[in-house]
């Protein structure tokens, strides 16, 4: 945290209006960031937080030539008077859609892109130094599209660091990455901050990361900076944060329900564990009622000894699934969990018949997928993709929802489309192009496309990926409602909070095989398995472990209830 540079950021009464709009995105923002700080910028969608951060490297106002008033000075440069090229030597920027910012075929060329543009003769050393710094050495010659999501993000980070800027802005690292990779990124950012004195600014809404890594939090609301506070204090402003649909960490929410004497709430697990140490909690609180999965009757999905692999140019043959067997029964709510590359999406592709296994058989609703076309299987199985954009093939949401029904000459197309649109509250969006909606809306629309076919099995791939918490809850409710209409829902995700609150059965995949299968309470109690699968249990589970529980309640409500119940017991016992 000792800054070795002197690059301040000072924002003074900044106003900005994008060309062609009537409203100011930023409307009198004031902010100072000192050298060597680790700051999180939070705020709801459309609050202006991204615009604010884009003024640090001059993309605002030089790339978007809107109307700008007020001043921003970065490392002694007046942003309005300096070029993006000049400012970029002080400020590195990693975009949210980091995949689109990789412009070169190989990792080496990508990281060398900026130093070569500036004519730095030592670009080779810079590339190797930066790759070393982020533990990426050895990847120089790999093709960027053959990297994993986490590696791509680190390469984007390396590319931004290759000019050795004093300030680094990272836009929503946790939204696009699985929790383990997001943590990896944050660890790297923490090192850059502590060892190399860089100022780090992340736009973030996952408060768990903020609590653990950041020094202070900036809240942006309707184009102004409402406050900048030290992290503990900031995460205690629960009302302010909720108003911007930013949710405090689970432990803070538990404490909020339990502690009511107005003292500062804990924001990290270790804080909370100390605070709750004297509470006694009953162990093994079950949540979802019946603990036994409803594994009865004939399975609707049956996967037998399936192996699947594919070839890459420079990364060798990848074995995605290895002799995997799984049966899914009607009315189960199954969640497949596992880190990226564990084989979740491939398994889903196999269930749709788009891919066929190298060996073994996949049977869906009594049909061997190898014997029929995917078009025929689509009558029963719907696959809602991880990237909703790939589901939009028409120019309006309504046309997309109707596509399947029209193509099969259903007689009551309009009626059925109305039904689905109404069911998922899409009336206001039905005439818009799906590609131009927000990610949360896109998810809802893609689910509508799936449900319109009236399937008996719905496969959802990462339905809460890259969503803020408010949208995640919305998707959670949508999935619940979808569950009422269809027989079997299978979700692939690394969002363990979703798994904990929704599933009746959790299947843990790791390097192409199943390493655990059971009720969420059992699976999440087995920390070794989660660790092996590179998954990070929800805070409730980790807090439970800290407090010595064998089976922690999985949701905030249940955890708080069990603490409440026993607080009185403790008092009695104590006296």
């Amino acid at each position: 945290m000792t800054a070795i540079h002197n690059s301040h950021i000072a924002v003074d009464e900044l106003q900005f209006q994008y060309p062609g709009t009537d409203e100011y995105v930023l409307d009198g923002a004031n902010l100072t960031i000192e050298p060597g700080e680790f700051v999180a910028v939070v705020g709801g969608n459309g609050s202006g937080k991204t615009t604010l951060c884009k003024s640090f490297n001059g993309i605002i106002p030089h790339f978007y030539e809107g109307d700008m008033q007020g001043g921003v000075s970065v490392a002694g440069h007046d942003v309005a008077e300096s070029s993006v090229a000049e400012l970029s030597q002080h400020v590195g920027y990693v975009f949210q859609e980091f995949d689109n910012q990789l412009v070169s075929p190989t990792v080496f060329e990508e990281v060398a892109f900026a130093p070569m543009n500036y004519g730095h003769e030592d670009y080779r050393e810079r590339v190797h130094r930066t790759l070393d710094l982020l533990d990426l050495d050895g990847l120089e010659d790999r093709f960027v599209w053959e990297l994993s999501g986490g590696q791509k993000h680190l390469v984007a980070l390396a590319a931004a660091l290759s000019l050795d800027p004093d300030i680094l802005v990272v836009d929503e690292p946790a939204a696009q990455l699985d929790p383990i990779n997001a943590r990896e990124t944050y660890e790297q950012l923490a090192t850059l901050n502590q060892t190399h004195g860089k100022t780090i600014i992340t736009i973030e809404h996952q408060t768990e990361f903020i609590a653990e890594y950041c020094d202070s939090v900036v809240l942006v609301e309707d184009g102004v900076v409402s406050w900048k506070r030290p992290v503990k204090d900031a995460l205690n402003q629960i009302t302010d944060l909720r108003a911007q649909s930013v949710h405090p960490p689970q432990v803070t929410r538990i404490a909020e329900r339990v502690l009511d004497n107005g003292e500062q709430l804990p924001v990290t697990i270790s804080d909370a564990a100390t605070r709750f140490a004297e509470y006694a909690i009953t162990d093994g609180g079950r949540l979802n009622g019946d603990s036994e999965p409803a594994s009865e009757g004939t399975p609707v999905i049956s996967v037998e000894d399936v192996s699947h692999s594919y070839d890459t140019l420079r990364s060798g043959t990848k074995h995605v699934l290895d002799d995997l067997s799984l049966e899914v029964y009607p009315d189960e709510r199954v969640v497949l969990v596992g880190s990226n590359g564990a084989g979740k999406s491939t398994l889903m592709q196999l269930l749709t018949g788009l891919e066929t296994p190298d060996s073994g058989t996949v049977t869906v609703d009594g049909t061997d997928t190898e014997r029929v076309l995917p078009e025929e299987l689509a009558d029963e199985v719907v696959y809602v993709k991880q990237n909703p954009e790939e589901m939009f093939i028409d120019d309006s949401v309504r046309a997309d929802v109707a596509h399947y029904l029209k193509d099969r000459d259903y007689t009551d197309v309009e009626q059925r489309v109305d039904g689905v649109i109404d069911f998922l509250d899409l009336e206001a969006l039905e005439d818009r192009d799906g590609r131009l909606l927000s990610v949360g809306q896109q998810r809802r629309a893609s689910l509508a496309i799936g449900l319109a076919t009236n399937p008996s099995i719905v496969l959802l791939d990462e339905p809460t990926g890259s969503l803020d918490l408010a949208s995640r809850e919305e998707v959670g409710r949508t999935i619940d409602r979808a569950g009422e209409r269809v027989e079997t829902v299978v979700i692939a995700t690394h969002d363990l909070e979703l798994a904990a609150s929704w599933a009746t059965r959790v299947v843990v995949l790791d390097s192409g095989g199943i390493i655990a299968d059971g009720h969420p309470n059992e699976v999440f109690a087995n920390l070794d398995v989660l660790d092996r699968a590179n998954l990070r249990p929800p805070q409730t589970v980790r807090l439970g472990t800290e407090l010595g529980l064998k089976q922690a309640p999985l949701t905030v409500e249940a955890f708080a209830d069990s603490l409440n119940d026993d607080a009185s017991a403790t008092t009695e016992g104590g006296e």
Partner: protein
């Protein structure tokens, strides 16, 4: 028979074609032509665009074809592309024959057109050899050193980077279409209805792909800007750096001189 059909289907599957093309475009480091300086290679290419037109003798042309084919083999050209080219050449000649049945002697017509077709084939094969042995970096270096602006040469590198992503996305979109369409219930002779149906879907899948790309490019442009792309356009140091590791070595001169000698030998002795 069934096994052979399966093999054929395997080889023409989208996956196989995809990896074959990607291998051609990217895995060129081991090939002979890759060792040459891109400027020399481009110059050689320009020369070989003209050379075939100087000869009418079928034997000489065949000799040239053997020469460029050997180079193509050394450059590990995509089997899919070679197959496609052979198919085009054969069908073109075939169609001449069919048309000339009505106008006169088809055999004579085809024979008369053989030198012309050979010339085109020589050019096609040398194009394949040259461009599949140059990676995006060498190709844009070569062009930039010949005075082509960086905006254009960068597009080549960027295109190479995006191509596999586009392949993937296109494939996914075709699949999206398939899952929401009805395949013909009776596939017909040689499954022609089925293939027509797939062809239709493949064409329709282009539109959403273009929209998605357009949407994505905004971030790409911002990211390039934030890493000094515009700056590099006026910065001579940057250009020098980009072109620094090109060097004409004895091998380059030898290859060029050797090629010309071979042409001369063919011309004089045959």
């Amino acid at each position: 028979m069934m096994a052979a059909l399966d093999d054929l289907r395997e080889a023409t599957s989208v996956e196989a074609i995809k990896s074959d093309l990607l291998r051609t475009a990217y895995e060129n480091e081991g090939s002979f032509l890759h060792k040459l300086d891109p400027r020399v290679l481009l110059l050689w290419y320009v020369v070989f665009l003209f050379v075939p037109w100087l000869f009418y003798d079928v034997t000489v042309l065949l000799g040239l074809l053997v020469f460029v084919s050997a180079l193509a083999m050394l450059s590990r050209v995509s089997l899919f592309l070679v197959g496609l080219m052979t198919f085009t050449v054969a069908t073109t000649l075939g169609s001449y024959a069919v048309v000339t049945v009505f106008t006169g002697d088809p055999v004579a017509a085809v024979r008369a057109l053989i030198p012309f077709t050979l010339k085109l084939t020589i050019i096609s094969v040398s194009s394949l050899a040259v461009f599949s042995s140059m990676g995006p970096k060498t190709l844009s270096q070569g062009l930039q050193s010949l005075g082509i602006p960086r905006q254009f040469t960068f597009l080549i590198t960027y295109g190479y980077r995006m191509l596999p992503v586009l392949f993937e996305e296109y494939h996914d979109l075709v699949n999206s279409f398939r899952l929401r369409s009805t395949a013909p219930s009776n596939p017909g002779w040689f499954r022609w209805r089925h293939y027509t149906y797939l062809l239709k879907l493949s064409m329709r899948a282009f539109y959403p792909m273009i929209f998605n790309v357009a949407k994505r490019s905004r971030v790409t442009v911002e990211a390039m800007e934030a890493r000094g792309f515009s700056h590099s356009l006026q910065d001579d140091a940057s250009t020098d750096l980009r072109l620094a590791d090109m060097k004409i070595r004895p091998l380059d001169v030898g290859f060029f001189a050797g090629s010309l000698t071979l042409v001369a030998v063919l011309a004089v002795f045959i």
